[in-house]
Symmetry: C2
Subunit: 708 residues, 2 copies
Amino acid sequence: MFDPSLIPFFAPRGIAIVGASADPTKLGYGLARNLVHSNYQGVVHLVNHKGGSLFGRPMYLSLLEVPDPLDLGFVLVPAGHVPQILHEAGRRGLRAVVVGSGGFREVGSDGAALEAQILEIARSYGIRLIGPNCIGLLDTHLPLDATFLPPPGPLPGDVAFISHSGAICAAVIDWARGQGFGLSRLVSLGNQADVTETDVMAAVAADPFTRVLTLYLEGVSDGRRFTTEAGQITPGKPIIALKVGRFASGQRAVASHTGALAGQENAFNAAFRRAGVIRAETSEEMFDWARALAWCPPPRGRAIAVLTNAGGPGATASDALEARGMRLAELKPETRVALQSALPPAASLQNPVDMLASASPEQYAGCLRTLLADPCVDGVLVILPPPPMYTAGAVAKALIPVVHAADKPVVVALMGERLIQEAVEHFRAAHIPEYRFPERAASALATLAARAEYLKRIQAQQTAGDLPALPVDHARANAVLAGRPEPISPHTPVEPDSVMRLLESYGIPTLPLDLAHSPEEAARLAAQVGFPVALKLASPDILHKSDVQGVLLNLHDEQEVAQGYRQILHNLRQARPAARVEGVHVQPMLLGGQEVIVGAVRDIQFGPLVMFGSGGVEVEGLKDVAFALAPLTLEEADFLLDSTWAGRKLSGFRSLLPADRGAVREVLLRLGQLAADFPQIAEIEINPLRVLGVGQGAIALDARAMLS
Amino acid sequence: MFDPSLIPFFAPRGIAIVGASADPTKLGYGLARNLVHSNYQGVVHLVNHKGGSLFGRPMYLSLLEVPDPLDLGFVLVPAGHVPQILHEAGRRGLRAVVVGSGGFREVGSDGAALEAQILEIARSYGIRLIGPNCIGLLDTHLPLDATFLPPPGPLPGDVAFISHSGAICAAVIDWARGQGFGLSRLVSLGNQADVTETDVMAAVAADPFTRVLTLYLEGVSDGRRFTTEAGQITPGKPIIALKVGRFASGQRAVASHTGALAGQENAFNAAFRRAGVIRAETSEEMFDWARALAWCPPPRGRAIAVLTNAGGPGATASDALEARGMRLAELKPETRVALQSALPPAASLQNPVDMLASASPEQYAGCLRTLLADPCVDGVLVILPPPPMYTAGAVAKALIPVVHAADKPVVVALMGERLIQEAVEHFRAAHIPEYRFPERAASALATLAARAEYLKRIQAQQTAGDLPALPVDHARANAVLAGRPEPISPHTPVEPDSVMRLLESYGIPTLPLDLAHSPEEAARLAAQVGFPVALKLASPDILHKSDVQGVLLNLHDEQEVAQGYRQILHNLRQARPAARVEGVHVQPMLLGGQEVIVGAVRDIQFGPLVMFGSGGVEVEGLKDVAFALAPLTLEEADFLLDSTWAGRKLSGFRSLLPADRGAVREVLLRLGQLAADFPQIAEIEINPLRVLGVGQGAIALDARAMLS
């Protein structure tokens, strides 16, 4: 939600620049220049402790002297003077300050201490603070340019840009202007001592001129809050994020495959998916997509028609569409008849529709109209290399009214540079996305389709209502966890039978596990549960039993079991002589069905995540796993199943019989609920979960957990 | 090899334009204009059956009237007149003709007949023919512009472009000029009635001005010939290919998992890998890479230093480098000391080196020199957003001499547009690759590294000499295949025991397979080979036995075997009542080790391909497979093993013991040799190949083959 305390940043009636300078080489000059020349309708006050005047305005000696109206202060003085200025701002009654100055956390521990000090001062006066170490903010519609960047600023537009990096802001403004598209608002966040990307995102989303939000993120300040806030914005306005630091993964001790496979990137992807945030891989992609999302209606589906005057680029476009999960629309017979009547005999009436090099502006427009009228077409990719007989500009002029009249998206691949310049300008002015290559145009259409699917998905969720509460025995789970001794190390493994009881208390079926302390006891227990049986090492020091050859399957009689007990202990002594041993677990063998892994891990930023995929010892090698935030929605549980081979094959594959997919989905929901309900569970993992035939359920054969 | 008959296309002493026109709206005018104005040093003759004059030159009534010198004809008359013109060209003694005219194969069967006719005429006179339906060719260094595209043509440069699509040529010329980089030669191939992309590629590679070849391919005319020719060029000059039609896969009947998973794309990738052709996914990527390959020295390794004046773009560059398999160089302590002395205290001396926003041109140049001197640095990515205190142009001027003095690649990410324009021009003039985003710069560096690795690989292969011939029993394999009845259908399955004998004749170990015709015989055979055994259905109508539950494993006694025999026949009757049955194969169980799949399939364009990967029934779902051309080089066999999880885990993984990787490699080589030696083998597949412990070999447990 948009915190009203941020209003002065975006709608100030008066701004004071503390550190304004008459020296054109100083940032304090650039800021004053931009503010004074940006047609800002409020009052710009200048403050410089030496006094003087600039742009015909007086420079006050102190903030305390500045008259009303005054809502926002912008501080550009050396770091050491910032605390004093903030005191003055507080006494002057300011509630919003941007600190542009550098010299804080980014320069080391002294700077960090200074940053903590200015935050404390700001809080003591109830001042909200953007920065320090940022280049400011701007709004092209208000208008307001409170940055110190060299002019010109961005053109007015409908895409907002919020950035953890100031340098990226400068580059994006310059690049966007060169590319001829505008920005609505831009905010440079700097060190985020107070106001974070999540605060600003909500405030910017409330701007009626902003149709799409783009974020350059180096992380997020509070993972769950970011997810919630973003999830409230995206039903109305798309958010695209470029998240860097992808490979700077903090290594940490992990106790499960789930823990080893999780990590920051999977957490971010799960959060972005939950919140409907679109993740871009490159800066160019982010703004390519932003324009399409700002200007195009959502497509009803993924069937695209390609309209071209040459076969080569049509083939490139087809490949690019299919590579991004789109498909070529099958045109209706009447569409082909209409195209035929408008085109020469050698034209190709199949999709891609190749009008041939002779295509006129009228043919382009007529064929586009015909394609858009076909109910099997969800959107059109128009390809326009420099036409040999006409100008690309004339084609653009003919196409624009057709695009504007359509309720389906149309994007244009304008191929070339100099010969297409006039067309580029027509399309930009008409708010029709144009790209230099068919591949980029195809990528934009795929993003439009993904956005449309997201909107359908959340609508379906709203219609379906809340997930019915799963019957779980919270008290029993609590007792299992509470009955344990206090964790002595940061990561404490839970005994196998406690993990099994924990799962049972949340309604996840488990296979009985009996602890034997001797070969003879193992043989006796095996006879009781019935042959064949499995033997599994019980040792608090061994996380993955199979790593030390601590699992034997399919033992058929008492002799094999007694011998197996000794073998397992022998194997352990070979591999890990110092490991403690509690005994060996005896478990009946459950035959048939499929095996999967289900786990949950607590991410430091985003809280509990659920993992699903192909299990066994190869899980970390195969990496056939997917993650979602816990607790899961039904849709997320289905996503985990649909996006992994382990999940897809539950529906059967060749001789592999269908298994109880519904039971797996329920286990996913229940384990997610358990991880969400008990924050002390750092990691919990069922490996394998044996999935029986349809309607016969799924049973945890082995599990491990770690508390923190 | 460069066919000397193509010389007249690229070094003509005189050219005749048949169909030259004084009407500026005609292509025949454009071609004459380009040729006359392109500073071509030879003679341009104009031919028009109505006579007249153009550009102060006479228009001859017929080719027969054209005086010497005359080496090349360019025909731009209506399709129906082309046969007559070719007759005249032949009588006039021409040996090279470009037919620009359309109206041939691309318009249907009448056109195709006409195309066959002109090819026949050309061949009868010994004329080589480019086209029909193309836009011509150009050479910026000769210079020669024999296209009819509107001026200006491309700048002189070092990248050649060869294209199946004329429209792409027009767009690329215009776009390259706008991007400020030049082309050496450009050839539009049109319908390729005679001269193909492979012919032209060899001819263009011989051009001393061409440093990199780029290809826009819609297919190749002869897969193996393309691979051989390209493989002779790439040690000297890089080839980058953009291959379209990726998803236009011709569906065909297949008899094996290998057949189902092969297909055009895997064949192209295998051929490109063999030939050292770099495959680009997008047009932009192709020319981004071409510039880097043309202008930069090869890096010694994948360790890159990032030099930036801001943290944000540095983080983006790091991500992009790691995503492309590069890594951030670990700087030597002395490098850090040198950087420290040149930079302010708050600068980051770790890689990425962040000089801070205050970085001067001198600091940029000095730090770049320091980084290039570090032996741990293989290349540098310089990031240059508009610097707040200096111009990007000044930074460029300071950097250029440092880059030119280095023997390591340096690429530049110039971020922005208007504020960096001067820098862009300096870098382009200096032949230093510059890109708008760090991601594209990182991608270019990764391509340079891949190219360097390819050069090392082929050098290692040359040093290692030829692969020692594998001892195989060709005569025995021939007897197995020849002893079979003539194939009656296009695809004929081979009986399982013949496949096993085929494998044995090529030195691939197999596990004995005994055919039982009754439950009793199966029990008796099982007792002979020793328990436990496996039973496998023998039916010529069932390709994948497990699909009909036709495999039973681990049967322990005669009773289980007899019962198993009945069960398999019962299962078959349920699944496929009409299938013929020969009996059931009895095979001893081989326990332990790992299972993989090894197969070979004959691609219609590229001949035999070998596949390797994770086998079992899930092979088509998991898709953990890789392909290479047969017969394999040792390096390709290793590539198949290294690029699949099935291959990597042969070295052991957690509790999975290491298996006999060397034996698998030998099976790969032997199966590839078999497929290459016997073209009648359409598909052959070992699934599973059981791989035993290190030094213990690998054994084919089951196999199938199909002849054609």
